[in-house]
């Protein structure tokens, strides 16, 4: 055992979480010994998120029955909240894959206690993101035309369209993430199967564990497949948000047609995703009493990553301004002036404040190690990132080449209900998941603490 490994274990766990059995108990208690918990906060959360989910369901029903005209679109601003929400949710989804694959490949052992619920966040965020483009289509019943299938119309999809790229990127990413998440959980499902006392729980976890018995050969194959999946996940996740960036960059609009968009979107995605992970980490740590496995050091490193991302975001915004100036095109320059001083300026300045200025507080170790401060700044980052996306969508469309077509975008009630309804739906899915599946990867934590457990 090297000194570095010991330091790692001591840093990422508390003594109460440095026994195999202690880890098993900590993680499985909310699932198997649920009667010992009060669950009051959980029920309140479920009721609130259920209410918002109902709002979302009503909105979707209304969109399907009345069309996209119920949203604040006009003849000029034909993309509104749904597109901004879509980019925002996809971005949140990215961080789960970042934590589970990129940090795995870089041997960052601290990821072990947060990767599972970050992956779950990815699944739900990507699923919700996938709803928006379909609802926004206007003819959602024809979304399957994006699939190349033999049809009586003798039509093929238009492969040069960004819509097709989007569809396949999201679909592949979503299914890939489901496989990755479930596969990584199989050994933990076996643990739950073996710990469960009730017949129903034994059958449920037993069936899902697929007969996993911890054989050394199986572990060997498991590691080969899991690591290879991680290697594939990194290019997939980078390509996914690059495609989202290309939705804009492949157009001819001022403020969109920028080569910086794909990398800038990828970093922004990981930024907002990390902010969401930090938020969920704080909630789960408190709700499931995981203080022994999720320490202040976790918040410290996550804050550092957000700090680095905030600097890159600041640089990206500055690059946009510089590019507009250097480009020399009047419309490009006018758009930057419009963003900084026009009617949407408050949104733009708030974005700069939340995404670039506020996170500079993370330079202070005291702020990084304060859960409350990290949570508060994470919320601001998420709001700021949403402002960024709505600014990109509506800013450009409101102010393109032809002044006669300039219109402002005003959201309607249904715009807001779809935004907050989806947040409630995310909460609902997450709360249900937390009652059914282990939120921390037990076998990876056991491996992390193995050196400390040894007599």
């Amino acid at each position: 055992m090297s000194a570095a490994q010991t330091r790692d274990v001591r840093r990422w766990t508390l003594p109460a979480g440095r026994e195999y059995e202690a880890v098993n108990v900590l993680v499985s208690a909310p699932l198997l010994r649920r009667h010992e918990w009060r669950w009051r906060a959980w029920w309140i959360g479920l009721a609130v998120s259920g209410l918002f989910t109902a709002v979302m369901a009503v909105t979707i029903f209304r969109v399907l029955s009345h069309g996209v005209g119920i949203w604040g679109y006009n003849t000029t601003v034909v993309w509104g909240f749904p597109l901004a929400n879509y980019v925002w949710w996809i971005g949140i989804g990215n961080a789960g894959t970042l934590i589970s694959s990129m940090l795995l490949l870089m041997r960052q052992s601290w990821r072990t206690s947060i990767n599972r619920f970050a992956e779950a966040m990815t699944l739900f965020a990507a699923s919700i993101a996938g709803l928006y483009p379909i609802l926004h289509l206007g003819r959602p019943e024809y979304f399957y035309w994006l699939i190349p299938y033999p049809n009586t119309m003798n039509l093929w999809p238009q492969w040069r369209s960004a819509l097709i790229w989007d569809f396949w990127a999201i679909l592949s990413y979503l299914l890939f993430s489901i496989i990755f998440w479930y596969f990584g959980m199989i050994p933990d499902l076996a643990t739950l199967r073996d710990r469960a006392t009730g017949h129903g729980a034994r059958c449920f976890y037993g069936a899902l564990a697929l007969g996993w018995r911890g054989s050394a050969r199986h572990w060997w194959l498991y590691e080969i497949y899991h690591t290879t999946m991680a290697c594939l996940a990194v290019p997939l996740v980078v390509s996914l948000h690059s495609v989202v960036g290309l939705d804009f960059a492949a157009s001819l609009m001022p403020g969109w047609q920028e080569t910086i968009f794909p990398p800038y979107f990828v970093i922004g995605a990981m930024y907002s995703g990390f902010a969401m992970v930090a938020l969920l980490t704080a909630l789960l740590r408190w709700g499931f009493r995981l203080q022994a496995l999720i320490t202040l050091a976790h918040f410290d490193v996550m804050a550092k990553i957000m700090l680095a991302a905030s600097l890159i975001m600041g640089l990206s915004y500055a690059t946009e301004w510089f590019a507009a100036w250097y480009h020399g095109e009047h419309t490009e320059r006018a758009l930057v002036i419009f963003q900084l001083t026009g009617p949407y300026a408050p949104i733009y300045w708030c974005m700069l404040l939340f995404n670039v200025a506020l996170p500079q507080a993370f330079w202070s170790p005291r702020v990084r190690r304060s859960v409350l401060a990290v949570v508060a700044i994470s919320v601001f980052i998420n709001v700021g990132m949403w402002f960024e996306r709505i600014g990109i969508v509506t800013g450009t469309l409101s102010h393109d080449y032809s002044p006669s077509m300039w219109r402002l975008f005003f959201p309607t009630f249904w715009d807001w209900s779809m935004l907050f309804g989806a947040l409630g739906f995310f909460g609902l899915l997450y709360l249900v998941l937390a009652r059914l599946f282990p939120m921390v990867s037990m076998h990876e934590v056991r491996r992390l603490i193995a050196d400390e457990v040894r007599p």
């Binding site: 195999y20 059995e21 098993n24 190349p148 003798n154 039509l155 093929w156 999809p157 238009q158 492969w159 097709i164 790229w165 396949w168 990127a169 679909l171 592949s172 990413y173 299914l175 890939f176 496989i179 596969f183 050994p187 643990t191 199967r193 073996d194 710990r195 037993g206 069936a207 697929l210 007969g211 996993w212 018995r213 911890g214 054989s215 050394a216 050969r217 199986h218 572990w219 060997w220 194959l221 498991y222 590691e223 080969i224 497949y225 290879t228 999946m229 594939l232 290019p235 997939l236 390509s239 996914l240 495609v243 076998h443 990876e444 056991r446 491996r447 193995a450 457990v453 040894r454 007599p455």
Partner: protein, 171 residues
């Protein structure tokens, strides 16, 4: 008959497996709550073909996807838009890439199940005493039918190698 030996931690188990092999016993398998580095090599496993399957599946589906794009855009449904090339490969790359990675993931999953023999909801070993601890905190080394010599010798060897308990089970 299966002989099972329990160890306190993974390194002790790996050491015992090594010693047993050196003395001419071949451990049938080991059961651990998390992967132990180098253990599979000691146990003589067949080479894995998961990555090969992933490459073939991924590259094959990606090639197929590209072929569909090329056939539909160049041969079956050509759209001449200002004389631009029908075979516009830069925009054709993304669909094969995304679906190729998905196909690689699915191929690898199938290969994993194929080679590991899972899903197999029941296995005789699940009846062994204390086997339910394997998924939690137990490290077991298993030997099948130690016919070559006295099983007592193997027991002594395992105890000397640090086994906490050695017991037999008949599946």
């Amino acid at each position: 008959m299966i002989l099972l030996a329990r160890f306190a931690h993974g390194d002790a188990l790996a050491g015992a497996a090594h010693k047993a092999r050196a003395s001419g016993y071949r451990p049938a398998d080991a059961f651990t709550p998390f992967p132990i580095d180098g253990l599979a090599e000691t146990l003589e496993t067949q080479p894995p073909y998961i990555r090969v399957a992933m490459f073939i599946g991924g590259a094959g589906v990606a090639a197929l996807a590209y072929a569909v794009e090329w056939y539909s855009a160049v041969l079956d449904y050509p759209i001449d838009s200002g004389g631009r090339p029908l075979h516009s490969w830069p925009t054709f790359v993304l669909f094969p890439f995304a679906i190729g990675i998905l196909a690689a993931a699915i191929s690898g999953l199938i290969a994993f199940f194929w080679q590991s023999g899972l899903p197999r909801l029941h296995h005789p070993l699940f009846d062994a005493d204390g086997f339910e601890r394997v998924s939690q905190d137990a490290f077991l080394l298993a030997f099948t039918a130690p016919d070559k010599s006295d099983p007592r010798k193997l027991r002594t060897l395992l105890r000397d190698a640090g086994a906490l308990a050695v017991w037999e089970m008949t599946p």
